[in-house]
């Protein structure tokens, strides 16, 4: 065999291999080609096997040529294989296109009641200002619900809070009532705190959430059972300026950093001076709308704790002062989420609850 004939043969092997590869279109055929053209008995491999039969001076040249053919075939194979894999991938991707507008799987999940969500937000905001949560009973004595809070027996201020009474026999001037506000908790909390050190009671900074009851007909705006959150800060140096700052900070947290507040004179027996606390309507920017009327939203009542109440709680009103305020978490939720009927809250219709 001449040197040129083996080189020609190698060239033929290369060409035959490449020609066979070109039309292949699937992985199976590709693997078959690989066995046939690069496998152990492939023609180029056979050349390597019989390399020893060539003249010694020819061997390097033939070996090099055979190697070039093998590399060429391998390269072609890899290229072809990559092309085919990419084609297949592209095809498969194309065929797997989803209708992404189909609905997702309905995952049943739980939710907190909107009132709980609102309370938690308030706990967090007030918590950051140093207020801790204090809870107390819902059925109270007249003494704690009214008298200790500076509502004397028979006082017209009682007309502000129509009351449910509980049947409990004749208890004279101290009947059992459904609490009309969470304020009796103020007295309980002050008494508990002052009992720990009657001479120098510790300062107090609490919020009092809870269910309250008023004897009134219900409609979209009025509930006979509603919840309230009150705040109380008592200490040696608490002032009205602090009250304003605390509630204005609250308004900014609840309604945005631009929320404006106003305080106007009011009357509550257990605070003096007393104020109503309004926030500029965030729905209309204070221009006046169907929700706010004149641009301001009534949010709650507040004031400096009345000296009689401090005294009833065991705090000397000459040495301590305090502020108190009360808000309706339901009212805030109604304003923020456009809830038009307060009766939705305790009715527990899933169609309402699922919106939170």
């Amino acid at each position: 065999m001449t040197d040129s004939s083996i080189l020609d043969e190698l060239e033929a092997i290369r060409k035959a291999g490449l020609d066979a590869l070109a039309p292949l279109a699937d992985e199976e055929a590709l693997q078959a080609w690989r066995t046939a053209h690069l496998g152990r008995s492939a023609p180029v491999m056979l050349v390597f096997q019989k390399l020893g039969t060539f003249a010694a001076d020819l061997r390097p040249q033939v070996g090099q040529a055979a190697n070039q053919v093998k590399v060429a075939l391998e390269t072609a194979f890899n290229e072809r294989s990559t092309v085919l894999r990419e084609q297949a991938l592209a095809q498969s991707i194309a065929s797997e296109k989803l209708d992404v507008t189909l609905p997702g799987r309905p995952i049943t999940h739980g939710r907190l009641h909107p009132d709980t969500q609102m309370l938690r937000e308030l706990y967090r905001v007030f918590g950051e200002m140093g207020f801790q949560v204090y809870r107390s009973r819902e059925v109270e004595t007249d003494e704690f619900n009214f008298q200790m809070l500076n509502f004397p027996v028979g006082h017209p201020a009682r007309d502000m809070q129509d009351t449910y009474f509980v049947e409990a026999g004749d208890r004279g001037d101290n009947p059992i009532v459904m609490r009309t506000h969470t304020s009796p908790g103020q007295v309980h909390a002050m008494q508990e705190a002052s009992a720990t050190n009657p001479q120098n009671p510790p300062p107090l900074r609490i919020i009092l959430p809870g269910m309250c009851y008023r004897y009134e007909q219900t409609d979209a705006r009025h509930e006979t059972q509603f919840d309230q959150i009150e705040g109380l800060a008592v200490g040696p140096g608490i002032t009205f300026t602090n009250l304003k700052a605390t509630l204005s900070d609250l308004a900014r947290r609840l309604f945005g950093q631009n929320a404006r507040t106003r305080f106007r004179a009011s009357f509550f027996p257990f605070t003096e001076p007393s104020a109503e606390f309004d926030v500029e309507c965030f729905l209309c920017g204070g221009k006046g709308c169907a929700v706010c009327g004149g641009g301001w939203l009534e949010i709650g009542g507040c004031g400096m704790v009345h000296p009689n109440v401090l005294r009833n709680g065991g705090y000397d009103p000459e040495r301590y002062s305090g502020f108190a305020f009360g808000l309706g978490p339901q009212r805030i939720a109604m304003l923020r989420y456009g809830i038009n009927d307060i009766r939705y809250f305790w009715d527990n219709d899933l169609r309402f609850l699922e919106q939170f």
Binding site: L112, T241, K244, E354
Partner: protein, 845 residues
């Protein structure tokens, strides 16, 4: 209460717009809830912080006119034609006003009638419509007569809801004058707080407005009547001065009962009171003007009762069972706390609340004995409440009217009665004043103000602010000594008085002028609220398990709650906490069962949803042995029912939730609360199927119970016909549960050495519980057995009747080495032997 701007102007001229006045009143504690504009230009949108209603009268189109003749309508008996002059020309105007009938067909009137006239194109209210409906006057033909304009009623002009006839104006009104110049007004509807009794009058409100705006108050002149002299027409005796500190009487003779002047009637109506006659109106007018309620007796009726002797008035509390018929014609039985005004023959009025019918002023009255008194506010409130008789007088008396006002009211009222009735006021006032109130005098300093308000207000400024409200002040260095004016009863003494005064200072100073300063006071001891924290953890865990939280009404009824108890089970016989004054029977009892609340919620929602999973945390109310404060016990109730998953377009597990769905939630909850030693014991509960009920024990304590609703209970609820799913429910003693929750818990390291997994299938008798089998496996496996999980349960003929197969997946793992095969084999054999020995388990092939 309502306050017309025109009336306030009798006492103060603020020079402010309607919007500004409303703002001043609102900021000072007299919240203006609504402004009713009458004829004046409406305040621009955005300038008023309250609701505004009303009608802006066109100056050209709504004017004064005079009617010179009232003629019959040719085709209708109930209509008349008025010959009318509007300042420019004559018109013939059609009207159906009944108060013109008396002038019909009488020819030219001797004195023309002055009326409000709306020309063509004027916008007024439709007098015949329900409520306030605007209408524009257009030409029309009514019964053959052309009509294009109108003589107006008060309703048509938005002055009041009076539409019985047209409105007559004063005789001196000039035709052509724009009506707004005569009658334009704004009525402020003010929410008067209980402590603002001093403001329940025009003078009271004007005084506040003057103080807030720094404008002078026009003090009412002291009336010239009665002339000085000895009052010999009556005598007064007061039994209980603490209930009746002062009582005054005046007399006016030869009165002519007739309607009050038109402007008086308009003012009364603007306030919301019905004009009666000049005498009654005068007493009401003075009450509204300066705040002192008055009562007019027919003096001749009193004389008749005393057989001609001078009237002897006494005040005393009612005797047991005593009765009186009041002005409204109702016979009332009085309680022994009711104070009565009596003459020698018996009671003539309920003090401060309502007069008696027998001695009331009527159209034949010629002589009036006028009462102005002071009463105990608590007592009057009690009587008005007991008699369900809220009146304008009792409204004021029950909030506190200063006794000094009595004489002022009496004199002013006699003056007006004289003017309006041509009567003669008898000389002298009978004045019994056994208990003049002490004038509170309070000393405050700028330091007091600083301590409460946090602002520096110098002593002279404080004095000035208080003097605006008529406090008599003396400044002595840093001390302001302020004496309370004798028209208010809401100022105390000592430390309370200081707070009262500081409130007044704040109001005049302006709440808006106080700066905001964040608290810098010492923080209290930080205790947190661990019970609440745990409660919130329960909520989070249950929400994480897919449950919806609810909050229910605390009300229920025994009947409603009885639904939760299966037929044949012991009824809930614990006494309910009962509301003494419920709005309805459905709201008359406080609940015993949160489970019952949640079941009610599931029942209501079953119509709208196929997957129902709710929980509620809240109190139940149990009456103790003694009537008094009930026990408020915190409960957690869970109810689940319906499809496991909501079906979408893909395959979903739409099987019905069962006992073990609920148990999964409960295990997840207790696990999440880090409670160890939880046991589930087959048990009974009145709400549950006896075979599908478990008690939940933590250690030895039963914290709750759960199960499938007893068929007899399930049947009591109103489910939709398609709703077939079992109803699963649980109830926990949450106080107890939370008390067992550890504050902290420990974690374990991640394993380094590989686990060995192995399955173990066993056949046991039906009576052997899964819990028992698992406990035996765990005990025997010891520390090397890291986990046991039941993955299959089945019964078949092959296994045999009364048997079941339980298949467990076991995970062996050692913290310090890789386990060897023979170690595991030994452990496995030990477990199998133990199970064979203890519960007769057989290894399944």
């Amino acid at each position: 209460m309502k306050a017309p701007l025109s009336w306030l102007k009798d006492f103060v001229d603020t020079g402010l717009s309607i919007a500004e006045i409303a703002h001043q009143l609102t900021m000072a504690g007299m919240e203006v809830e609504e402004i009713q504009v009458i004829g004046l230009p409406m305040p621009a949108h955005g300038t008023v912080d309250t609701k505004v209603t009303g009608l802006d009268w066109d100056r050209e189109k709504i004017v004064v006119a005079s009617i010179s003749e009232v003629m019959p309508h040719p085709n209708a008996d109930r209509l008349t034609l008025c010959k009318l002059y509007d300042g420019q020309r004559d018109h013939v105007v059609l009207t159906g006003a009944p108060n013109l009938f008396e002038f019909k067909g009488k020819g030219p009137l001797p004195k023309p009638l002055k009326v409000a006239y709306a020309k063509e194109g004027a916008v007024i209210y439709d007098g015949h419509a329900e409520g306030l409906v605007l209408t524009t006057l257009k030409p029309a033909t009514i019964r053959g007569v052309e009509s294009y304009s109108m003589v107006c009623s008060e309703k048509e002009l938005g002055i009041s809801d009076e539409h019985e006839g047209i409105m007559f104006l004063e005789d001196d009104a000039v035709p052509g004058t724009p009506l707004v110049d005569l009658l334009g007004d704004a009525i402020f509807e003010i929410n008067l707080l209980p402590s603002y009794a001093r403001c329940a009058s025009m003078l009271g409100l004007a005084r506040e407005l003057a103080a807030m705006t720094g404008k002078p108050l026009k003090q009412p002149a002291v009336p010239a009547v009665p002339a000085p002299g000895k009052a010999d027409f009556a005598a007064i005796s007061i039994e209980k001065p603490e209930l009746n500190p002062r009582f005054t009487l005046g007399l006016i003779r030869n009165v002519k009962i007739q309607p009050s002047p038109a402007w008086v009637q308009r003012r009364l109506r603007a306030y919301g009171m019905r004009p009666i006659n000049n005498i009654v109106d005068a007493s009401n007018y003075v009450m509204l003007e300066i705040g002192q309620p008055l009562h007019a007796f027919d003096h001749d009726k009193l004389l008749k009762r005393s057989s001609g002797k001078p009237v002897q008035i006494s005040t005393r509390t009612a005797r047991k069972g005593e009765k009186i018929t009041t002005l409204d014609g109702v016979e009332r039985t009085l309680s022994e706390s009711t104070v009565l005004v009596c003459d020698a023959a018996g009671p003539v009025s309920i003090a401060g609340v309502m007069g008696g019918a027998e001695t009331e002023v009527d159209e034949n009255t010629t002589s009036v004995l006028l009462e102005a008194a002071a009463w105990n506010m608590i007592n009057i409130r009690k009587t008005a409440k007991a008699q369900n008789l809220p009146s304008e007088a009792s409204y004021r008396y029950s909030r506190g009217v200063h006794p000094a006002m009595a004489e002022r009211g009496l004199r002013r009222c006699l003056e007006l009665m004289q003017q309006w009735s041509d009567g003669e006021v008898a000389a002298g006032v009978v004045d019994e004043y056994p208990l003049p109130p002490k004038t509170p005098v309070v000393e405050i300093t700028p330091a007091d103000v600083k301590r409460l308000l946090g602002i520096d207000v110098p002593a002279p400024r404080i004095a000035k602010l208080l003097s605006h409200l008529e406090f008599k002040v003396e400044v002595n260095g840093e001390t302001i000594r302020a004496a309370c004016p004798d028209h208010r009863m809401d100022i105390g003494e000592g430390v309370t008085g200081k707070a009262d005064l500081i409130e007044e200072v704040t109001r005049v100073y302006g709440y808006d002028n106080i700066p905001e300063v964040r608290m810098s006071d010492v923080l209290p001891p930080q205790k947190g609220n661990p019970v609440l924290d745990k409660e919130e953890r329960v909520r989070d865990l249950l929400v994480a398990h897919g449950l919806q939280e609810i909050i229910s009404y605390r009300w229920s009824t025994p009947e409603r709650e009885a639904r939760r108890i299966a037929p044949g089970s012991a009824a809930d016989d614990k006494p309910y906490v009962k509301i003494a004054n419920p709005l309805a029977y459905e709201k008359a009892f406080l609940r015993h069962s949160v489970l019952s609340s949640v079941l009610d919620t599931v029942e209501r929602n079953a119509r709208n949803r196929d997957h129902l999973a709710f929980f509620e945390i809240g109190p139940v109310f149990l009456q103790g042995e003694e009537p008094g404060l009930p026990n408020e016990l915190k409960r957690l109730a869970i109810v689940m029912a319906g499809q496991r998953q909501t079906k979408g377009w893909q395959p979903a597990d739409t099987g019905k939730m069962d006992f073990f769905d609920l148990k999964g939630v409960i295990s997840g909850l207790l696990n999440g609360l880090r409670l160890d030693e939880v046991k589930y014991v087959s048990g009974e509960y009145p709400s549950f199927h006896p075979g599908k009920c478990a008690h939940i024990l933590v250690g030895e304590k039963q914290v709750g119970v759960f199960g499938e609703l007893h068929p007899g209970v399930r049947g009591r609820y109103d489910w939709p016909a398609t709703f077939k799913a079992p109803v699963l429910a649980a109830e926990f003693d949450l106080d107890l549960l939370l008390s067992l929750v550890p504050a902290l818990y420990q974690t374990s390291d991640l394993p380094i050495f590989p686990p060995v997994l192995e399955d173990l299938a066993l056949v046991v008798d039906e009576a052997v519980t899964a819990e028992k089998v698992e406990a035996l496996i765990r005990q025997t496996g010891g520390k090397l057995l890291a986990d046991v999980r039941l993955f299959d349960l089945f019964r078949s003929e092959q296994i045999g009747a009364g048997k079941k197969s339980l298949a467990y997946s076991l995970t062996y793992q050692a913290p310090d080495r890789t386990l060897k095969d023979d170690e595991i084999k030994q452990l496995r054999n030990k477990i199998i032997k133990r199970l064979e020995y203890e519960v007769g388990a057989k290894l399944r092939a």
